[in-house]
């Protein structure tokens, strides 16, 4: 290609590789597959138990629908605040982005608290039934997923505080939001498959 003197219009900027975003999508897809497998086992075992005329969740357990429903609504509210954070950072409104991230973190923490309360309240003994093993495995795995999401959110918030993200570079917040939406989606599925269907 022949050299062209200075003054010629610049070539259009090339698209930036969105490494963090793609990596997060990969991790999120892996997490969804993990829960798909767990819920597949759960629903399969539940179906077998019920088709044989047995009980699935032991009658001694007292699983109330209210706490997980509160947690589900809390998670759904966190979708709004998460999107608020992405919207704000895309408009260089760093203060609102950080505030929205803090609110999302708060919602996440409250779900952890609600789940912990439910653990103490439902009277489900972990090693007494297959249902208990699976319910604790799935819900505790989801708590771990929330914890990872919270660390991700806090990391993005601190980076935003340090001035790293702006309307030119929103990948961190978008990546965190994708993961967080997956956290919420998984909880809604858990709420339906475990707590509503019982």
């Amino acid at each position: 290609m022949a050299d062209v003197p200075v003054g010629t219009p610049l070539a259009a900027p090339l698209p930036r590789p969105r490494t963090l975003l793609v990596g997060t999508v990969f991790g999120t897809a892996a997490s969804l597959m993990y829960f798909a497998a767990l819920l597949g086992v759960y629903l399969g075992e539940r179906s077998d138990a019920l088709s044989e005329g047995g009980e699935w969740i032991p009658s001694s357990a007292n699983i109330q629908l209210a706490p997980p429903t509160v947690a589900a609504w809390t998670m759904l509210m966190s979708v709004v605040t998460m999107q608020w954070a992405v919207y704000s950072i895309a408009r260089d409104d760093r203060a609102h982005a950080i505030m929205a991230t803090a609110l999302t973190t708060l919602f996440g923490l409250s779900v952890v608290v609600t789940t912990s309360f439910q653990y103490t309240d439902m009277g489900l003994v972990a090693d007494e039934s297959i249902a208990a093993v699976l319910i604790y495995t799935i819900s505790a795995s989801h708590l771990a997923m929330i914890a990872i999401g919270l660390v991700f959110l806090l990391l993005m918030a601190f980076r935003a505080l340090a001035g790293q993200y702006s309307s030119r570079q929103t990948d961190g917040f978008v990546a965190a939001s994708i993961y967080w939406y997956a956290v919420v989606f998984v909880y809604v599925v858990i709420w339906t498959a475990i707590f509503v269907l019982k």
């Binding site: 290609m1 050299d3 062209v4 003197p5 200075v6 010629t8 610049l10 070539a11 900027p13 090339l14 698209p15 930036r16 590789p17 969105r18 490494t19 793609v22 990596g23 990969f26 991790g27 897809a29 892996a30 997490s31 597959m33 993990y34 829960f35 798909a36 497998a37 767990l38 597949g40 086992v41 399969g44 075992e45 179906s47 077998d48 972990a126 090693d127 007494e128 039934s129 297959i130 093993v133 699976l134 604790y136 495995t137 505790a140 795995s141 570079q169």
Partner: protein, 567 residues
């Protein structure tokens, strides 16, 4: 300043340090550091063990993967050899294993070590070292994550082997407290292995998607890169399922008593799908990419009709996804003897049958390229290895088709029982026979041969100079011959009703009357002796490859890798 320079600058900004700090900064080295950092000249990178432990250099990580996966593959083959010795005398047993439980432990260890500690990390190592160069990137996408993935995998692999030999294993026939803890550690360490491999796959996938230069689309990457993209995509959907199975097992073990997932053989049953069709093919997907590159390189041409080949590899990946074929998605009792048979046999048979024309099409693509090149291939060790690895994969697929022959041809049996009765009788009960082990060995050892071929092919970039060709040819014969013997004897044994699982609960595992259902016991024992020779041969071949690598490294002390060679 010229437009060329401004374009270069635009490209540098688009893919440069400020926007890809993790990609660039860690693994690059001094040449990419800003010149203004005068203090950097006073900092000396750690060398020796500290350098290896703290490295983020994708080439070093790739080499580490390859070295340790070679070692662990050798260990897996030794374990296979021990099983082979025991099977050489089915009627009495040679007493290698005092109890059936010990045989059950190494039976699982052979599979986990050969596939998850040998084959898959070998491919990941090649990919980590080679792919950035193939797509003209300076490093992998997340160098520190690549290092973390490697160390997680390695620690998990060592713990897994140690736990199994500490009376652990993926479950046991008898449970007591001490054994339970070792079983727990085995399960946890296998989880670590899976997590490490998943992270490594994520790094390769992200590298391929994001680190290509502008203008290079995914169908323009070399065949090996494409096959790794497909492979990591399939592994992305498989490994989390394996992890979920292991977590369920582990949680169940934590209770006062196990209920369904952690006791007896259940931990192995939960993950057995990963070592069986169709998933076993998924671990070998990169074989197709390596074969394509080596094959066309030997014909001194570039791949023609790349898009059809890419489609074939994609179809192979799709049909090899096997996480659905696990016992807990079956309505039957998961701990029953036939637990690994999914209820929906139609789906199972369909997958096994559908993958056969895909492999046939791939063979056709290779033949077309050979014909189009218009010249005889240059015979190199890697060419011989990929040719034989392709033959082994074909044998695996044919064995897989035979395995499902009974359900697939059941309709014909009903239609015309007289003519085909003899044939169908021979096909009876192949499911659950050692034919299944033969299929796995064909596929996995074929993959191992392809990985070794990749090592020969990219040795100039990996090790700084080519591997010794005569020594390479010397290793081809035992590697390929041994792999054929191992797979073929197991497959043939299946036709004589040799069971896939060479143990029964008891003490000792073998003895008169244990396997009365086996036809022609003496012949099956002779087959098993030949299979044992096959294990020894493959092990010898791997030792020769290791010697070749050591010799090359010793001949070029301090040689910096990445000096030319094929991309």
């Amino acid at each position: 300043m010229t437009l060329t320079e401004t374009n270069q600058e635009a490209e540098a900004v688009a893919s440069g340090d400020d926007l890809r700090p993790e990609t660039e900064a860690v693994a690059s080295g001094d040449d990419l550091r800003p010149a203004t950092q005068s203090s950097a000249s006073q900092w000396t990178p750690p060398t020796g063990l500290a350098g290896i432990l703290s490295t983020g250099d994708h080439r070093v990580i790739g080499r580490l993967y390859i070295v340790f996966s070679l070692i662990l593959s050798g260990l897996a083959l030794i374990v296979g050899m021990l099983i082979g010795i025991e099977q050489a005398d089915i009627d009495g047993g040679f007493g290698v294993f005092g109890q059936a439980n010990e045989l059950f432990q190494v039976f699982g260890l052979y599979r986990t070590t050969l596939i998850l500690c040998g084959l898959v990390p070998f491919f990941l190592g090649l990919a980590t070292a080679v792919i950035p160069n193939q797509i003209r990137a300076s490093s992998v996408a997340f160098p520190r994550a690549a290092a973390a993935a490697f160390w997680t995998w390695l620690v998990g692999a060592i713990a897994h082997i140690a736990a199994t030999f500490s009376y652990g294993g993926l479950g046991s026939f008898q449970a007591d407290a001490a054994r339970g803890q070792s079983v727990e550690l085995t399960v946890l360490s296998l989880g670590m292995i899976g997590l490490g491999l998943l992270a490594g796959a994520g790094v390769i996938f992200t590298t391929l998607v994001t680190q290509r230069p502008s203008g290079m689309d995914l169908l323009q990457v070399p065949a090996f890169s494409w096959s790794m993209l497909v492979a990591t995509g399939v592994w992305l959907f498989s490994l989390p399922v394996l992890l979920a199975n292991l977590v369920v097992s582990w949680v169940d073990m934590r209770g006062a008593g196990t209920l369904a997932f952690g006791g007896g053989e259940a931990p192995f049953e939960l993950v057995a799908w990963a070592f069986d069709a169709p998933q076993v093919y998924a671990w070998t997907i990169p074989l197709l990419g390596i074969t394509a590159e080596v094959f066309t390189s030997a014909h001194r041409s570039s791949p023609r009709l790349f898009e059809p080949m890419a489609f074939i590899v994609g179809a192979f990946g799709l049909l090899s996804f096997g996480a659905w074929a696990q016992s807990f998605f079956d309505s039957a009792d998961p701990l029953a003897d036939d637990a690994h048979i999914v209820t929906n046999e139609v789906l199972f048979a369909a997958f096994a049958l559908a993958i056969a024309p895909v492999v046939l099409a791939y063979g056709g693509w290779l033949a077309f390229n050979a014909y189009s090149a218009g010249q005889r291939p240059q015979i190199t060790p890697q060419f011989a290895l990929v040719t034989l690895s392709g033959a082994l994969l074909t044998a695996a697929v044919v064995t897989g088709v035979l395995r499902v022959a009974e359900p697939a041809l059941g309709v014909l049996r009903e239609a015309d029982a007289d003519i085909w009765r003899g044939f169908f009788d021979a096909m009876d009960d192949l499911e659950g026979s050692s034919l299944v082990t033969g299929m796995m060995n064909f596929a996995v050892l074929g993959g191992l041969l392809a990985a070794v071929a990749g090592l020969f092919h990219w040795a100039p970039r990996l090790l700084g100079r080519p591997l010794n060709a005569p020594l390479g040819f010397l290793s081809v014969l035992p590697l390929a011959g041994g792999a054929v013997l191992v797979g073929a004897t197991d497959a043939l044994g299946g036709f004589f009703d040799q069971p896939a699982r060479p143990y029964e609960a008891g003490d000792p595992p073998y003895g008169p009357g244990h396997f009365d259902e086996i036809d022609a016991l003496g012949f099956v024992e002779a087959l098993n002796v030949i299979g044992l020779i096959g294990y020894i041969a493959v092990l010898g071949g791997l030792a020769l490859v290791a010697l070749n690598v050591a010799r090359t490294l010793a001949a070029s002390p301090g040689a910096e890798a990445d000096r030319g060679g094929p991309e």
